[in-house]
Symmetry: C2
Subunit: 121 residues, 2 copies
């Protein structure tokens, strides 16, 4: 049912946690299942130096956030804003259709965290 | 949004894993979100000697399974069959309404695992 990459990022998620004094924090909720995703960014000269996430969501939410944080780390905020849910799901070699709504949390939380950073700077 | 007990069992879940040569295995799926719960039982003289679980589900699924495995460990299979979803949710000091469908997985998987054990013996 789930690809090897999904199971890898689900069982050993990367970049889990919080960042103290984060430059941008994005928190989004999933209307469909009531879950929450929170992403913390450390940004220097518009480059994402560090990123961490926390979620109460399911394995699909964990796996997509884990790979999404890897995909944006070291990138500029402009590049990170171009991260689509489609690209994240493709990087995981796909997800079952009923789990796509879980995966959207990662993209939304990244965007919200960058919004938050821009507001503050 | 979530009680201290829920967060405790979510962040430090008890009895996660598999049991090799389990006497009963229960696997159930959640039609609402597509998540899966799997429970393994080690049973001697109708007493649940050990129990482990694995899930791809969300934090509510993890927390309910974690506390449910604690509640049935050391019990007879007849006692374990009486475990209700209501009792599990109460032991966690409650869950938000939209997460009740996640919590049902634990009760169902325990029942399925005992069914499986009974079929084999
Ligand atoms: S959303 Fe699937 S188990 Fe909770």
């Amino acid at each position: 049912m789930y690809s090897e990459k999904v199971m890898d990022h689900f069982t050993s998620p990367r970049n889990v946690g919080e960042i103290e004094n984060a430059d941008g924090i994005g928190e989004v909720g999933n209307a469909k299942c009531g879950d929450i995703m929170k992403i913390y960014l450390k940004i220097e000269n518009d480059i994402i130096k560090d990123v961490k996430f926390k979620t109460f969501g399911c394995g699909a939410a964990v796996a997509t956030s884990s790979i999404a944080t890897e995909m944006i780390k070291g990138k500029t905020i402009e590049e990170a804003l171009k991260l689509t849910n489609k690209a994240v799901v493709e990087a995981l070699d796909g997800l079952p259709p009923q789990k796509i709504h879980c995966s959207v949390l990662a993209e939304e939380a990244v965007k919200a965290a960058i919004e938050d950073y821009k507001k503050k700077h």
